[in-house]
Amino acid sequence: MSSLQWIDAKSVDEAATLLSADDSGTTIAKAGGIDLLDLIKEGIVAPARIVNLQRIDALRGVQFDDAKGLRLGSLTTLAEIASNAAIRQRYPALAAAAAHAATPQVRNAATIGGNLLQRPRCWYFRNEFFHAARAEGGREQSQYGAIFDNAKTTMMHASTPATALLAYDASVHVAGKAGRSRTIALGDFLLPPDFDRDRDTTLGRDEVVTHISVPPLKAGTRAAYHKQTERDSYDWPICDVAVVLTLTNRKVEAARIVAGAVAPVPRRMTASEDLLRSREIDEGVAAEAARAAVRGATPTDKNSYKVPVLETVIRRTISAAMT
């Protein structure tokens, strides 16, 4: 007796067809399998059927072109992103984010597609008990929860590469049956985590992520990434920050500053971005921008310490991008 059925999809179309054939939500697509296995082991999902994407060659490969930018097949592993020479050179914030995610073992298996689709790491979410006994309520928020946009939930999207990808203005490409495909800006793709949904993205049930694209870089682009953890060995972030600046004559022409693990989804720190525009960055300006970023934070008693930590990390990451 098998606990579930396993199907090796040969093509995106086959995968999408298999996924669309099921409206009960018990067919789940699998890439690296890390998050899926975790959710199965925690008793949070119980798929009747796994559609294995690993044998679809169209989902593989990293391509870089100065004019077209970066294309990451959805099966690209975090280890591949972290070690890819072009990414390290051109998109260092992305390489750093991938290098600091999870463990070496997990990075060798975890794919960028799966990473973006992973469920939150919230203590409550990752515990079968709170799925079975939802009515009990009374959930006290942890010291790690969201400090922005947290009226509905303090759960946060768990992907740290997403922080860097959003700063680089990446898009997610998805495909369904019969060659239908969509391109979704990453900021529109990620949704605030929700116990009542089976996913935290706008991916359709009959769709798979085919690749992620990152636009080409303008001349004068500088970037930095920092994941602030309690431990360096292997840890989830208190916050992570990616800064992508485009400078012209030493003045900021464009800035994208994104913070992860501070809001339900990675958050553009637009107040900082606005403040930097057209200015020359020195330590004082970086500090001003960081201060502006945390204005309006709505922490709880337990996680108010995250506000000064975030401010510090934004300031330091802006400075790091300049060096």
Binding site: W123, Y124, N127, Q228, E230, R231, W236, Y305
Partner: protein, 803 residues
């Protein structure tokens, strides 16, 4: 060898080698081998010998309980409570029993390893044991596969009548708090030093006061003492609940047969497994065999059979098949032990010259549904403090039970005490080491050791060049701090070793003791090899089997102190026996036969000797077998609690920590620890260093990261895993410099003492004192997470520094 009370006086050199070695007369039991010279004159003892079971560990051949696979073996899973406090109305196991592959289901009728009602009749009418924490084991299922056992365990239907619950220390201390136990309780001691003092008053959830641990207590008149003080430091300190998290979870393979019950156990004490199984199942001890080849860590929590073991045995009996029940990581965190929390109120008074006049300690700690949350014995036993009052209260909560954890109580107690002394030193404008010099003056070996250790450590840590408090201007502030350690020197009363010399010249040494990673096999092999003039590798050590001679518990830092004298005594008898058989052919008297470097020869004539194997062949026997006991310490003990014999001497240790505090992110990094330690005669410096590394690293982990988080609404542990229950990893491991001293106490035939616990005691306090040197702020709350650090840095109520 029968123990004899007869003694004779010998003059022996005692003290610290290279420092204070002096002749002293000791009354030594007749039959004890002659005292050993310092390690520099020995061949195997005191040498950096490789762990004798290292090869099976690096090749994966070492067989842990988790690896035991028996023909027809079943896999078991536990069904646990999903509520924090309730009466069980009904349990329906029919669906679980009907699940394909299920061979047996058992419902627990008695919960082990938690506090027990003094008067059990209070709950005698309950059909099932009351649920007192979320995750309490209730029943278990054995099936032909792990998958089937897991699925079936979920089908056990339990109907609850909920009762109000409380999970926090403060909540449980409130007047109107839900009461965890309806009457006074007792908590029996485990061989690991767990348990709580008996017959204490209990009101609501508060059990106590206990007045000092390990036979200690108050003295003098504290009010008078404070009246004599020029300065008084009064502070609250808080420590968190820490879970043991051994890499191999608790577990047992039970094989119930009519003729014998065989238990493969991941345990710190084979005989505690046997004895608890005999007690619970009303079996004669001889019908139970316990095997523990390798144990994947324990740290104090692996004693007895536990509820998981009881379930495995019941299931094996019902299914008539061997059953393996290993806990999963969640169950490990939740249900089989933790270091209890503490809230400690210390008041410390001193004169201007650093003389401490009085110490008052009031502490509260929660070990969940178990008692034993005291804060150790350092207040009583470490310093010369004339007026002392210690009052400890256990606070019951609806949370998993505490258990002994590497220096139980002492780690929490010293975190507060050594920080209070540091604060006092700064208040008085004195060097913290000078204050210790003033008060660390007891007539004990640990006080004598610490005196030397302070000096060595101060040099290595460049203490005299330390910078003033809060010297760094930038956001990252560095500092160093010092704290002292103390643990009891403990001997396991019933310890026997057997040494066999076989006709082919091979040598076997046996003890029932297990190895949880400390090196039981290796220290035993070295001791026997030294006596027989062999290498450690020449000695085949057999351990971890209750059929072997009774060995010590791996708890309380007592394996080496207990097993090496027994091993030496047995090897000594075997050597003398062999000497007598070959003396004639070597043309010498028995007393003049020497065993050295694999050879046997007459004193003064090494060239005319023979190899050890030749000597055995010359003697021509099938096998020589000698057993010997660990004799009582030559000066006796301060206290005997069953087999736990406690010397009036302790084990010392001094640690210096250098840390960096990022005052903007609140992240603390421990950069370097200088750890200066004593353990009597070091038997194997390589293994001792390993243990000290481990103690320091666990201390860093406790100080900075570890904390059990419970959901107050449900009592569920929220971080019962490895990624969110945070422990030191490779990148948080500081540079650790270990310095060992050799102290010959002359209380046993090897002078060996333990080191596992003393290595873990002082670290958190040293880090806290370094935090003050770095930032000028005290941190009174553990762990030093960014949340707690940033709060401490913002705090207004902070000491004034006069130094």
């Amino acid at each position: 060898m029968s123990a004899s009370d007869e003694r004779h006086s010998r003059t022996v050199l005692t003290g610290i080698v290279g420092d204070t070695l002096q002749p002293i007369a000791r009354n030594i039991p007749v039959g004890e081998p002659p005292e050993l010279p310092p390690n520099s004159e020995l061949r195997v003892i005191g040498k950096r010998v490789n762990r004798v079971d290292a090869v099976p560990k690096v090749t994966g051949e070492a067989r842990y309980t988790f690896d035991v696979q028996l023909p027809g073996m079943l896999y078991a899973r536990i069904a646990s409570s999903t509520v924090p406090h309730a009466r069980i109305k009904s349990i329906d196991t029919s669906a679980a029993e009907a699940y394909p592959g299920v061979k047996a289901v058992h419902i627990l009728d008695r919960v082990l390893s938690i506090a027990q009602l003094r008067d059990p009749s209070v709950e005698a009418n309950e059909r099932f044991p009351l649920v007192r924490y979320n995750g309490q084991p209730i029943a278990a299922v054995a099936a032909t596969s792990m998958r089937a056992a897991k699925a079936a365990a979920k089908l056990v239907r339990i109907e609850y009548e909920r009762l109000p619950h409380v999970t926090t220390l403060e909540g449980a201390m409130a007047d109107d708090a839900p009461v965890v136990f309806p009457g006074p309780t007792e908590q029996a001691a485990t061989a690991g030093g767990g348990g709580a003092p008996p017959n204490l008053p209990q009101k609501g959830n508060l059990r106590g006061p206990a007045r000092g641990g390990l036979g200690g207590g108050g003295r003098g008149d504290v009010q008078q003492g404070f009246a004599q003080a020029d300065y008084i430091v009064e502070r609250d300190y808080r420590t968190q609940v820490q879970t043991h998290t051994p890499m191999e979870t608790h577990g047992l393979v039970a094989d119930w047969r009519d003729e014998e019950l065989t238990l493969y156990a991941s345990t710190q004490f084979t005989l505690s497994v046997r004895d608890e199984a005999a007690d619970v199942f009303k079996l004669p001890k001889e019908k139970i065999r316990v095997i523990s080849e390798y144990t994947g860590g324990g740290f104090g929590a692996k004693f007895g059979i536990g509820n998981y073991g009881a379930l495995a045995i019941h299931l094996s009996r019902k299914a008539r098949a061997p059953v393996r029940l290993m806990l999963d990581r969640r169950e490990e965190h939740v249900s089989v032990g933790n270091r209890p929390s503490s809230l400690q109120r210390l008041k410390l008074g001193a004169r201007r010259d650093g003389t401490v006049t009085a110490l008052q300690v009031e502490s509260f700690g929660t070990g969940g549904v178990a008692a034993g949350a005291g804060v150790g014995f350092a207040h009583t036993a470490m310093y010369a403090i004339p007026n002392l009052s210690v009052e400890h209260y256990d606070v019951f909560t609806d949370a998993g039970p505490c258990a002994a954890f590497r220096a139980p109580g002492q780690v929490q107690g010293i975190f507060a005490l050594e920080q209070a002394l540091d604060e006092l030193a700064h208040e008085l404008g004195m060097d913290p080491l000078a204050v210790r010099e003033k008060i660390d003056t007891n007539d004990t070996d640990d006080a004598r050791a610490r005196k030397v250790e302070r000096r060595i450590g101060a040099e290595r840590a460049r203490w005299s060049q330390r910078r003033p408090t809060g010297a760094d201007q930038g956001p990252v502030k560095r500092g160093i701090g010092v704290a002292q350690s103390q643990w009891a020197y403990i001997v396991h009363g019933t310890t026997t070793c057997e040494v066999r010399i076989r006709g082919d010249g091979s040598v076997v040494a046996l003890t029932g003791a297990q190895d949880i990673g400390t090196g039981t096999r290796t220290v035993m092999a070295q001791t026997v090899a030294e006596e027989l003039g062999l290498r450690a590798d020449d000695v085949d050590t057999r351990i971890g089997d209750s059929r072997y001679p009774a060995g010590p518990a791996s708890g309380g830092s007592r394996v080496t102190s207990s097993i090496t004298p027994a091993a030496r005594n047995a090897a000594y008898l075997a050597a003398r026996d062999l000497a007598a058989r070959v003396a004639q052919s070597l043309g010498a008297s028995t007393e003049d036969i020497i065993f050295q470097d694999g050879r046997v020869f007459a004193r003064g004539r090494p060239e005319r000797g023979m190899t050890f194997v030749e000597a055995v062949k010359t003697a021509n026997f099938d096998e020589i077998v000698h057993r010997a006991d660990r004799r009582e310490d030559y000066d006796g003990y301060r206290a005997k609690l069953g087999d736990l014999h406690i010397s009036r001497h302790g084990i010392g240790g001094v640690q210096f920590a250098q840390i960096a505090v990022d005052t903007e992110t609140g992240v603390v990094k421990v950069e370097r620890i200088v750890a200066v330690h004593d353990c009597g005669r070091p038997i194997n410096p390589k293994l001792i260093e390993s243990q000290i590394y481990g103690g320091v690293i666990q201390g860093v982990s406790y100080a900075l990261y570890e904390e059990r988080h419970l959901d107050p609404g449900t009592g569920v542990q929220l971080n019962a895993n490895i990624d969110q229950y945070k422990i030191v990893g490779s990148r948080e491991t500081p540079a650790i410099e270990v310095h060992l001293i050799e102290q010959l106490g002359r209380q046993s035939s090897t002078d060996a003492r333990g080191v596992a616990e003393p290595a873990n005691v002082a670290t958190a306090a040293a880090i806290a004192n370094a935090f003050y040197n770095a930032t000028g702020k005290r941190i009174f709350t553990l762990p030093m997470t960014p949340a707690n650090v940033l709060a401490a840095l913002r705090a207004e109520d902070q000491p004034e520094d006069r130094s």
